[in-house]
């Protein structure tokens, strides 16, 4: 396995500046997820690492070796594609063995290696079949098997689960993560699905418009996002963003919403905010941090009276939509907390966990 270092990478497609100065260091053996919306440059970045595209500026080093000028087959990498890229006229065995054969691996070595890879992915009973006889999930396992059998130093995954249905995706996420634990190789995984990113990554790199918005461990991005974009991207349902004004309230600060309601901040959070009093600020609060008000005051919880407009039960939880200071917001409640709409309800918002965003720069205020 090898580490990966990218310095000042730029990539243009005609006039489109797809990758705009990326610096990234990935230690060996880590599972890194490149995540972001379509067009953010994540696939371009991956393909440039693979050598399927040439970078216009910057360097790519794998294991300390600069590989910019090397074709893909000399970079010792393996890749899993979104639509499997399996050869329909070859059996599964031959599909997996394809890469070994191209490197003239001796015949007696090929068979045991293929079988071992197939066993690792629980497809050893399918080796004699043709791709058209397999289901989506099985096809993806074969595609992964083809990468795994090669023993490369770097593994690249280009949105491999996008074509699978939800249930299969859940299953395969676990499989890939287990594979990483077993093999311990450096893996770079591209997806647009933030759930995949959160559950699988040792480190998340969130991309937007060709630059890195933030990189770090999943929980770090989740609990301490650097920008409004990161805060709104991770977490499902998404974070609620409410316009407010920062005002003084006794010996602490509070947020005055557009409907006049006030939400007091816990004192320990006000240290760096004194300079921003009487200026607009954006409140970011996750649905799971809005709950039913309980008896008695607890520190850091602000009360808010709301009228429920819409209910979306999922079984154990119910997502309730309501108006919060002039903006539609979602709260995650227990199923039995509320049952009908147009009902007034007392909510409490955990102000320990909210984020405050500067509307001018969209950066999160610490």
């Amino acid at each position: 396995m090898a580490d990966l270092r990218i310095s000042a990478l730029h990539k243009y497609y005609g006039n489109v500046h797809a990758v705009r100065g990326i610096d990234l260091e990935i230690p060996a053996g880590e599972f890194t997820v490149l995540v972001g919306p379509s067009g953010c440059g994540k696939s371009t970045l991956l393909r440039t690492i693979a050598g399927l595209e040439d970078a216009n500026e910057g360097t790519i080093e794998i294991g300390g070796q600069v590989v910019n000028h090397l074709p893909p087959r000399e970079r010792d990498i393996a890749m899993v594609f979104q639509n499997y890229a399996l050869y329909p006229y070859m059996k599964v065995f031959d599909n997996i063995a394809f890469g070994l054969r191209s490197r003239h691996t001796p015949k007696n070595e090929i068979e045991p290696r293929v079988r071992r890879a197939a066993q690792m992915l629980a497809i050893d009973h399918l080796l004699d079949r043709y791709p058209r006889e397999l289901s989506g999930g099985q096809l993806q396992r074969v595609a992964i098997g083809r990468a795994v059998v090669r023993s490369a130093r770097l593994y690249l995954f280009d949105e491999p689960l996008s074509n699978l249905d939800a249930q299969l995706r859940d299953e395969m996420r676990g499989e890939i993560k287990r594979l990483h634990q077993e093999l311990g190789k450096t893996m770079i995984y591209v997806t647009h699905d933030q759930v995949e990113a959160m559950t699988m990554a040792d480190r998340i790199v969130l991309l937007r418009d060709g630059i890195i918005e933030q990189a770090g461990a999943p929980l770090e991005l989740f609990e301490r996002p650097a920008t409004r974009y990161v805060a709104g991207f991770l977490g499902s349902p998404a974070m609620n963003f409410i316009d407010a004004n920062l005002v003084t309230a006794g010996d602490t600060l509070a947020l005055r919403l557009n409907d006049g309601a006030g939400l007091a901040l816990p004192q320990r959070r006000t240290a760096n905010l004194r300079t921003r009093v009487d200026r607009p600020v954006v409140l970011g609060v996750r649905p799971e941090h809005i709950g039913p008000a309980t008896q008695g005051e607890r520190p850091g919880l602000a009360r808010y009276t709301a009228i429920i407009e819409l209910l979306q039960p999922t079984g154990s939880r119910t997502y309730a939509t309501f108006d919060l200071g002039g903006t539609r917001a979602v709260a995650e409640l227990q199923a039995h907390d509320v049952s009908t709409i147009n009902q007034q309800i007392e909510l409490s918002i955990d102000m320990n966990r909210v984020v405050l965003i500067d509307p001018a720069t969209n950066r999160v205020l610490s």
């Binding site: 050598g51 399927l52 890749m79 594609f81 979104q82 639509n83 890229a85 394809f98 490197r103 090669r150």
Partner: protein, 277 residues
């Protein structure tokens, strides 16, 4: 039977009748042509015309083979085969470059397809003059070269469309696995394009086989193809109808056989890929 099913039955019958009638009408000329080749001279010139020979008479065929006229079919075969193979090879690799690398952009692609639009007579005339100068008239090389050149735009256009249908990921996967671009072309792409290759090959072959005007201008005695040979029998002299007919049979039968087997590739071939039959 419900009234609705009855109406459907009637419609089906009518359609069947129409289908049979149409097929008979379209097949009649071919039948007549083939039938003449088996008639004796007296039967051909019977008046009113007889619609079937009293027996299968192979005299005309024997004459054709004896006089060496049938050898022109062999010339057609050589010329069509060689030019098709060459056009398919050059066209395939060129199409790959156009499809995957957009070589030359829109301009090159448009120029290539526009070459198919050139009227043969406008091309064959200067080519003839050039060939005279180089001594290429009535040579296999000369004819094959021109057929190849004339078929290339079609091959390139068709194969480009087929190659575009193959997902890039297959080639990229092979590249990552260790193949060179050249190997990828033959080991990965070629098998994926088999249907398209078959359709294009048939059409290219049929075009070269059936061509008349190029052969008329560029061949004399050595390389005369069967189409040119047929026109040697024009001139109103009666017994030549038999030869025309027999030669036509020799020239069309191989194609009929090929078409019968390759039928399903046909639609894609003739529509320039506009319709994915």
């Amino acid at each position: 039977m419900t009234p609705l099913a009855g109406r459907h039955r009637v419609r089906l019958c009518l359609r069947l009748v129409a289908a049979v009638a149409l097929t008979l009408i379209f097949m009649f000329p071919i039948y007549w042509l083939y039938m003449i080749s088996f008639k004796t001279a007296s039967e051909i010139y019977a008046f009113p015309p007889k619609w079937y020979p009293s027996s299968f008479n192979f005299d005309t065929y024997r004459v054709l083979f004896r006089d060496g006229d049938a050898a022109t079919v062999g010339n057609s075969l050589i010329v069509a085969f060689c030019s098709t193979a060459l056009a398919m090879f050059l066209g395939f690799i060129c199409a790959y470059s156009l499809a995957r690398f957009s070589t030359g952009g829109k301009h090159l692609a448009n120029w290539i397809i526009s070459q198919r639009m050139i009227p043969p007579i406008a091309v064959v005339f200067p080519i003839f003059l050039l060939y005279v100068w180089f001594g290429l008239v009535d040579t296999y090389v000369g004819v094959i070269l021109l057929y190849t050149a004339f078929n290339l735009p079609y091959v390139i256009w068709m194969m480009r469309s087929y190659i575009l249908d193959v997902p890039r990921a297959l080639e990229e996967s092979a590249l990552v696995d260790g193949y060179t671009r050249w190997q990828v072309l033959w080991k990965v792409l070629l098998p994926m394009c088999r249907a398209g290759l078959a359709a294009t090959t048939i059409f290219t072959f049929v075009f070269a086989w059936n061509d008349f005007i190029f052969a008329l201008v560029l061949t004399r005695t050595e390389v005369a193809t069967y189409t040119v040979q047929i026109t040697h029998y024009f001139g109103g002299q009666s017994n030549f109808w038999a030869k025309i007919s027999a030669m036509s049979v020799l020239g069309t039968l191989p194609i009929f056989v090929v078409t019968a087997f390759m039928q399903r590739y046909f639609v894609r071939g003739i529509s320039l890929g506009a319709v994915k039959g």
